[in-house]
Amino acid sequence: MRSRTTILTIMLALLCVVLFVADIAVGSVTIPLADIVSALMGRGPAEVRSIVVDIRLVRAVVAVLAGAALSVSGLQMQVLFRNPLAGPYVLGVSAGASLGVALFVLGVPLLGIVLSPALQSIGTAGAAWIGSAVVLMAVVALSRRIKDIMVMLILGIMLSSGVSAVVEIMQYFSSEAALKSYVVWTMGSLGDVTAAQLALLAPVIIVGLAMGVAAIKPMNTLLAGERYAASMGLNISRSRMLILTSTTLLAGTITAFCGPVGFVGIAVPHIARMLFRSADHRTLLPATVLTGVVMLLLGDIVAKYFTLPINTITALMGIPIVIYIVMRRR
């Protein structure tokens, strides 16, 4: 079993490297591998260096971070809610982040306030964190009363629809410019993140992932449910707070900068479980990170190739997995 895990980990890590390079190479202009290497080493024509380093490298790094972050947040939510269909998108956490962003992006211009690009970035991220945290708290409170998986999912859909309704009302009153920037954000894009924004996004995701690593033992203990976990000495409220903070940082930050990218969080942990045949989070956490990175890099390559929004690709990749899980549970 250990050798299978090792082989799969190495294969996925190699696949990540190949897809990372391919993601940099693919675009409106295909750049050969040799030119990518030269550009990364600071050599070659300035325009190629600019495309590779300033645009495509940033985008590929964002894809890596988004894949890792959304997948891990899905894994955490599936354990915390003991619900195989939990994920930041289906439980309305992305919708919460959307509401936060909508209130900020559409609301601030309505108040006549003009912000600098840096403040705009930080404000968008902060609004998404607050929005996702509020929804997560609401979902946690509801999940204590409602144990039925399907009811929780229906509530997640209702929450998303409610948020959409509020956002639509705000859109009605918004200026064309604010409306456009919000609509573009909702389409989801890994390419709109600038190097300066990445400097804010990357540390937050690394902190979120580090908290995820710290939560490995609590997550394993929580597999048996909260009552057992408490009887095995786990501080439930502290562990729940650790996992929720990590999830909020991961899902909220990616949603803030890349828009609501759906079905990665729900599907990737299941692909990792199927591949690695493990429920141990010491195996599953890195497996989920690698699988998520592969999915997002692959999705980004396809999105660039066909000039499509990333969330349409991730939906097409993730939905069959969700249908498979639902059908298998019947």
Binding site: A214, I216, K217, N220, T221, L223, A224, G225, R227, Y228, A230, S231, M232, G233, L234, N235, R273, F276, R277, S278, A279, D280, R282
Partner: protein, 228 residues
Amino acid sequence: MIRLDNISLSYGSRTILRDVSLHLSAGELCALIGRNGAGKSTLLRALTSHRKTLINGTSLADLAPEKLSESVAIVTTERIRIENLRVEELVALGRAPYTNWTGRLQDIDREIVAEAIAMVGMSDFTGRDTSSLSDGELQRVMIARAIAQQTPIILLDEPTAFLDIPTRFEVCRLLADLAHHSGKCILFSTHDVDAALPVCDTFAIIDNGTLCKLPTQEAAAEIERIFR
């Protein structure tokens, strides 16, 4: 070993146990019986959560959760079936109070896990996915998890529920072995009086909000009087 003195317990707004006391000693196997809704599960829960519970003379209020996990193990009515979680991994969760921050098992932990699995007669099931186990097999694995936790006290909520008749008797005999040969203090709630009578040392009987603990011989007559 574990005791509660003069406490009242409520379920929601309803008081279901009034001014009850319970004392259990090392090596004692006690069956907790009573009608549905009488307060068996509530009492079991109180033994791991009520401030007035005393474990080896220390109140739960003064006992850190980590210390409590080294004193009391529980087996609930919930069936833990998790895909890709193997029997030995589920049992190894019982080692959580003793492992480092990642939950990494040492050789000694693996030995204890293997021993616990052997004690419940599930060695042949090592490597099997817990999602493929029957109710009876899973119940044994959950008891092995409690054994692996190496606590002097084990509390079980209806461990014989949903099991076929031979397995009910087997589970009761297993609990008797643990109490009488390993010196554990075991309290389990059950409706299977027939399976419990031959092996238990004492019975804690809940009736009309009161609790009385009796030696098995006296309990048999009392059960007959109250419930039949």
